[in-house]
């Protein structure tokens, strides 16, 4: 992989959106009802839009390839997304909980990027911030509805949170690239994002009647290219067309 910090930082940002966007796209036609089906695929579309901006920029920095080759032609160890976004769509509670944990991180991340010294990243942040705010509103509402709903929905949400909360720590574990980008005024300060994240999540957990488990953090090194067993299956699906028919276009 190209040994350029900004390039790696763009992959780190873009891969999270790509893999989560893919997980959400798997729900297309399978949402619990029409409205949520459309809502979740809309989230997916917004995330893919952001991915395109990150990867177009990454391809420009690399000086070769396109957004498509960045998205579709890397090996598993060259993807730098966190493990949270790889977690499967076990049930609707898992989908909402994963989304909420992510959205509460994504919104302050976008706000931080708006202040980036890098003009392109600042523009991506400004565009994404509005979308992230809308997503957070949606997932927060559903957290409350499920957590404070029926006995069954509460049980499922709590169980989803028990499973997923352990993966949230990785979002804030600063990698070398993130540290360097922060120091250069290009990337976000994860410490500050964590403060925002805690405020948002504690508030919503309280109104959803759920509590995060005190299990230790999951051992996760997605930012270093080590992934869960889900990742291979995800990539097989994402990459199939470009691998089978190189350079194919719609």
């Amino acid at each position: 992989m190209l040994n350029n910090s900004l390039y790696r930082y763009l992959l780190l940002l873009g891969d999270n959106s790509l893999i989560l966007g893919h997980r959400l796209s798997e729900l297309c036609g399978h949402g619990p009802n029409l409205e949520t089906d459309i809502a979740l695929t809309n989230h997916s579309l917004d995330l893919f839009g952001q991915v395109r901006s990150y990867f177009q920029y990454a391809a420009k920095i690399a000086g070769e390839g396109t957004e498509d080759s960045v998205a579709f032609l890397r090996y598993e160890k060259d993807y730098l997304n966190v493990h949270l976004v790889e977690q499967p769509n076990t049930d609707f509670a898992h989908v909402i909980c994963r989304q909420f944990l992510w959205d509460a991180y994504h919104l302050p991340l976008m706000k931080a990027l708006m202040k980036s010294k890098d003009e392109t990243l600042a523009a991506i942040g400004a565009k994404g911030e509005k979308e992230a705010a809308y997503h957070l509103r949606f997932s927060s509402e559903w957290m409350k509805r499920l957590g404070d709903g029926t006995e069954e929905s509460h049980k499922r949400l709590q169980s989803a949170l028990d499973h997923l909360y352990r993966y949230s720590y990785e979002l804030f574990k600063e990698s070398e690239v993130e540290k360097e980008m922060k120091e250069k005024g290009i990337g976000a300060d994860l410490g500050k994002i964590l403060e925002e994240w805690k405020k948002t999540t504690e508030d919503i957990f309280r109104s959803s009647n759920v509590s995060p488990s005190d299990d230790p953090p999951a051992i996760a090194k997605g930012k270093q290219g080590f992934h869960t067993e889900h990742m291979g299956f995800i990539l097989a699906q994402i990459q199939y067309m470009q691998r089978a028919y190189p350079d194919m276009q719609w």
Partner: protein
């Protein structure tokens, strides 16, 4: 950057721009949408900068192709650049555009605070484009395209799209 107004664009170019429509909201031209950021002319070659409404708006590629086709029919070659800054907001949409939306059956965006209240289901402020009643309710915060939410009128009982305020 200031968003170019029709008066800033050469009449010959503007006339062609006004023939290119949004494929998902076909009553709106690219000028109505307010997605035009810059038009640079060098003889018969144009560089056109447009800004997406939403990051993932799938209409942008089609709009870019449609612009190329429309200009090539008038002897121009074009490069289309997608620019993210300044980010598009619903304020960029022209008044004529908002009127056309209503006539087409899509409620046009409210100002930001009212929009938030409407989408949180706290207030009935979105006006039904068919009967004009504000006795409407949110069916889904996400609609048929990234830019719309789905509403229903409780008076005339018709469902309709609402173009979300993006600011």
């Amino acid at each position: 950057m200031v968003i170019p107004q029709p008066a800033d664009i050469a009449p010959e170019i503007l006339a062609i721009l006004e023939t290119v429509h949004d494929p998902e909201v076909p009553v709106l031209t690219v000028m109505d949408m307010g997605i035009m950021r810059k038009v640079e002319q060098n003889g018969t070659h144009l560089t056109i900068h447009i800004s997406p409404t939403y990051s993932g708006c799938p209409a942008m590629d089609t709009i870019a192709d449609d612009l190329k086709t429309a200009f090539s029919e008038h002897g121009f070659t074009t490069d289309i650049e997608l620019v993210l800054a300044p980010a598009w907001t619903t304020d960029d949409m022209s008044e004529a555009g908002k009127r056309k939306l209503e006539e087409y059956g899509i409620a046009s965006p409210l100002e930001a605070t009212a929009d938030k209240e409407a989408l949180m289901g706290e207030a009935h402020k979105v006006k039904c484009p068919r009967c004009g009643s504000t006795n409407t309710h949110l069916v889904s915060a996400f609609g048929s395209t990234a830019c719309k939410a789905h509403f229903k009128c409780k008076d005339c009982l018709e469902p309709f799209d609402y173009f979300k305020c993006l600011k």
